[in-house]
């Protein structure tokens, strides 16, 4: 019975968020863009009219609208721009999901521990977080690439190394105040073990913060992934990723302008959507984070 109560309590809280959100006017434009992005990522093979890496020199450099089989034109090797953009969405979502997910997980776990167990563990975790925040991401990425070589896992690793610290810091701040509340004290007196207190009693109260930071970080992560790809530190050339596409168009910008223009536009629109959504979520869930 007790566990049922806990369960329904949690569901209530989860349901309360859309309720509040509905009253606060949903940001429809960002949500639509995000939905389009996610659909493109999820079913890219079904949506893309062509193979994104199939070279067809006969159809090279078609301008957008010039030939309706290639609605957004083709690149210098005759690869279909629309298909590449759609697969590029998949790359962006894939990398940011894994990188941000891992970063959030590591950061949350360490933040919970640091906040609950003050002392040497706290000092160790927070000093490491300071050090991680103290490095420019590009430097981290470059060191990683020097050690491990360019590749998708290494981009993800670079992002995780820089992103986890933000989560750890914010979550720790939350835990410091939550652990002083009566229900935590009661749980402790009732003899509940520390992992369970952290997981069942403290963690659910940090979910708001977690969602807000995550949504505010997505845009940054997508930008970061694009820059690293652009610099050739990530995915191999030719791979359908927006940063690589911008970079491929750079040399021929005077001749085939749409090559750089379109993927850059895609990055901007998507990052804008996530930033607006993040701002909205923060204002709705947790106005005190406004300074973030």
């Amino acid at each position: 019975m007790a566990s049922l109560n806990v369960a329904t309590g949690r569901i209530d809280r989860l349901l309360a968020i859309p309720g509040r959100a509905r009253r606060a006017r949903l940001p429809w434009v960002p949500l639509t863009i995000m939905a389009v992005l996610l659909v493109c990522a999820a079913v890219a093979p079904l949506l893309a009219p062509h193979d994104p890496i199939e070279i067809s020199m006969l159809n090279a450099k078609l301008a957008p609208g010039e030939n309706l089989t290639y609605p957004l034109g083709t690149d210098i090797m005759g690869r279909d721009m629309l298909s590449r953009l759609i697969y590029g969405a998949r790359t962006a979502v894939y990398i940011s999901l894994i990188a941000l997910g891992t970063g959030a997980l590591v950061g949350t776990v360490l933040g919970l521990m640091a906040g609950y167990r003050t002392g040497w563990l706290d000092v160790l975790i927070m000093r490491t977080a300071d050090a991680a925040l103290g490095f420019p991401t590009i430097l981290v990425a470059m060191i990683i690439v020097t050690i491990l070589g360019a590749g998708i896992e290494n981009i993800i690793l670079a992002v995780v190394i820089t992103v986890w610290a933000r989560f750890a810091r914010m979550i720790r701040g939350d835990v410091l105040s939550i652990k002083e509340l009566d229900f935590v004290t009661s749980a402790r007196i009732a003899g509940v073990s520390t992992p369970i207190i952290l997981l069942r009693h403290i963690f659910p109260n940090t979910i708001n913060t977690l969602m807000v930071i995550t949504s505010l970080q997505i845009g940054q992560v997508i930008l970061l992934e694009a820059s690293l790809s652009f610099l050739g530190l990530g995915l191999p050339p030719g791979h359908p990723a927006w940063g690589i596409m911008v970079s491929e168009g750079r040399a021929v910008i005077l001749d085939v302008w749409w090559l750089s223009l379109l993927p850059g536009l895609a990055i901007t629109v998507v990052v804008l959507a996530f930033n607006f959504f993040g701002d909205w979520l923060r204002d709705t869930l947790d106005p005190k984070l406004r300074r973030l």
């Binding site: 300071d130 490095f135 420019p136 430097l139 060191i143 820059s227």
Partner: protein
């Protein structure tokens, strides 16, 4: 205060040590530095001799110590590709990056702060909306893309500005603007929100009630407190400019250390990588340190944190 400064300097040193260790290991984990230096027809004997000469037969900890003491004296080793000491190449390239970052930082302050104040005073007018749009676009678009688009527009189509290399003042316009845009955007937003907060405070209301002119209220009373958070943030922006300048230097063919760093990595020229990464990291960590100490100086609350 002294204690705070001491702790903060200690932290910066630790961060520097971690960086140096990461750089040291990055070279030693990726391969055999001696094998890179060896010519094609040199054999086992020369290899062993070279290893000994480079100290590679000693334990890793000893090697790290040697590496550290060399780095502190500015000796990063010989560039494998350029056949010159990495320090020479670094010193030759550093001014270009510092110049560009300096101009960009100046732009961030002289554009970002006034626009932010203006946005706050003229809240919800066309000016404010323009400021918001400018800020939002600067934060969301990738700088390397903006750079390419501006080259297309101002360099190729209109032909107004030079688009690559270092030269006269006109060479600075495009790269400095692109490099500073996201910083300007951040400073603008922060100045605006911080000014709005201060303008709403009791002491500003009191100054108004006293009958002081709006000019005096804004520039004499509100501004002083309003710019404190901006100060810290712009310091960090300065540090972050090094982060952003890699892509900008690549797009505009700017002969700075960002491009050098990337070149070093793609050619596996380790001394160059060591020199550039350590220098960039040192600048970043020092700037953050100075900013933090200045901040503690103007804002006493932080010292006891």
């Amino acid at each position: 205060m002294q204690r705070y400064i001491f702790v903060r300097i200690f932290q910066a040193l630790i961060t520097l040590l971690i960086l140096s260790l990461a750089v040291f290991l990055s070279v030693h984990l990726t391969g055999d530095p001696a094998a890179y230096l060896l010519g094609p027809d040199e054999g086992e004997v020369e290899y062993e001799a070279l290893k000994k000469q480079m100290g590679l037969d000693k334990p890793l900890a000893v090697q790290y110590g040697v590496f550290l003491s060399n780095v502190v004296r500015g000796d990063f080793g010989h560039s494998l590709m350029m056949r010159r000491p990495a320090r020479e190449v670094l010193i030759q390239r550093l001014p270009a990056t510092l110049e560009l970052a300096g101009v960009a930082f100046l732009l961030i302050i002289i554009v970002g702060v006034p626009l932010g104040i203006l946005s706050a005073i003229k809240r919800d007018t066309i000016i404010d909306n323009f400021g918001k749009l400018f800020a939002v676009a600067g934060i969301a678009s990738p700088s390397f893309w903006i750079a390419i688009m501006l080259i297309l527009l101002f360099g190729a189509i209109l032909g107004w500005l030079p688009t690559f290399g270092r030269g006269g003042i006109d060479h600075f316009i495009l790269p400095a603007f692109v490099l500073s845009w996201s910083g300007m955007a951040g400073v603008l937003r922060l100045t605006r929100s911080s000014m709005l907060e201060v303008l709403d405070s009791e002491y500003v209301k009191f100054a108004r009630i006293k009958g002081l002119s709006e000019r005096l209220v804004v520039y004499k009373h509100a501004l002083k407190n309003g710019v404190i958070p901006v100060m810290t943030f712009s310091g960090l922006t300065l540090a972050g400019l090094l982060n952003g300048s890699v892509a900008i230097e690549v797009v505009f063919a700017w002969p700075g250390i960002g491009r050098l760093m990337l070149q070093g990595i793609s050619q596996r020229d380790f001394p160059i990588v060591q020199a550039t990464v350590l220098t960039a990291g040192l600048f970043y960590i020092l700037t953050a340190l100075v900013v933090d100490i200045l901040y503690a100086y103007v804002n006493p609350r932080i010292r006891y944190d």
